[in-house]
Symmetry: C2
Subunit: 236 residues, 2 copies
């Protein structure tokens, strides 16, 4: 994705996403050599560069939100965006979820624990990205914000379930990362806990709940509906 | 330092500092086992935890600046603080300086290159911490801000020169980290380039320039003068 094509908040979310992927791929973390079919940052360069690139990208996200001239909302709304993104990135979001994930390898989690992990690990940033979009509108009312936020929570979880399904059903070439890597690492997944059919049903339920959150909105909200569809239909 | 004793901006700076130390100590970076006389984060826990703890601390710093109720300045000033801290942390600050540092190991730098590295690596955060203090005052005028900022640039460089001097002159117990570690790694230092006496003279010159930047301020600025004194007199 070309960052120059995005507005400030979208850029910032993409930077937080990129930093988390770079750090997650590190040998001390997931130790992945491939990401989207290309060498991961620490393979293309080295570990120190990957650590620093991640750190710098996280900082850059907050610089963009504090500074980007294309954000026309009030200073208070910018602060709210920064706060949401900081929490989604930190111990109550991605970093916390990743820590739960690392601690869970080789352990048996129940479905509530698995869900808690994913709400933090991948769900928090998906939710933040939608919330920042909502906050880009001037004077959004709290009810609308809550509905959009709930939609985002649902698609965030559905995204993760679909990820687990693809790790079972897809292949390395389509995924752009090694297929079956979760199973190899004995990671807890939805198909492990619910069976493959149970996982697919759970994804469909969340998809329906996401669309339900949007039912007061007209066709202007269709892009959000398309994203929900894409998340459970994607093959990689 | 107890974070609860600090106000919001000071807390945020301390968190950025802590994250950078945790990441700098990692095996892929400086590979240090000791920090302030205690095991570094990745020794006390593990590498993955140290990477995540650093990431979460950086995020927390921006959460605090966006959210802390004890910051009584305007939303615009908060955004300015966030922007300064983000730049000091990222590729134009610490992370960039650290990258220059890693690329410089085993290479000969001249004095301008060495200074450029330290202005980023350690100077940027020292400068940001002073600038955030200045911005905590309501309606600070640009001239005052500039003078305080220049003071901070000078003490930041003086701090690094003193660090290099201590790496030659002090001992492991006093430093709380292995003495002589810069020399062992063949890192470029001020004493290497200027000799030990030349490095001491350079630190004294910067100390004088720092105090000179404050000469329009009365005794209320004495704590800044004490910090400048401390930086070149410290033994660890």
């Amino acid at each position: 994705m070309k960052l120059s094509a995005l507005n400030g908040p979208a850029c910032a979310v993409e930077m937080i996403h990129a930093y988390s992927l770079i750090h997650d791929d590190l040998p001390a973390m997931d130790n992945d050599d491939l990401r989207r079919g290309r060498p991961t940052c620490h393979k293309a360069f080295d570990e120190a560069t990957a650590i620093l690139a991640g750190d710098a990208l996280q900082a850059l996200a907050f610089h963009v939100l504090a500074h980007a001239p294309d954000i026309t909302v009030s200073a208070e709304q910018r602060l709210e965006m920064i706060d949401i993104l900081a929490q989604a990135s930190g111990s109550r979001g991605m970093a916390g979820g990743q820590a739960i994930d690392l601690a869970a390898v080789g352990r048996k989690l129940n479905i509530a624990e698995l869900e808690n992990m994913h709400i933090h690990k991948t769900g928090a940033l998906i939710r933040a990205s939608v919330e920042l979009g909502a906050l880009s509108a001037k004077n959004i009312d709290p009810g609308t914000f809550e509905r959009v936020s709930h939609y985002a929570k649902c698609i965030g979880l559905a995204f993760q379930i679909q990820d687990d399904i693809l790790d079972v059903e897809s292949d390395t070439e389509t995924l752009g990362k090694p297929q079956g890597s979760d199973r190899e690492r004995n990671k807890p997944t939805y198909p492990n806990l619910l069976g493959l059919d149970g996982a697919k049903e759970a994804a469909l339920r969340l998809h329906a709940e996401a669309l339900d959150s949007l039912n007061q909105f007209d066709s202007q909200a269709d892009p959000l509906r398309w994203i929900a569809d894409y998340i459970i239909q994607r093959k990689k």
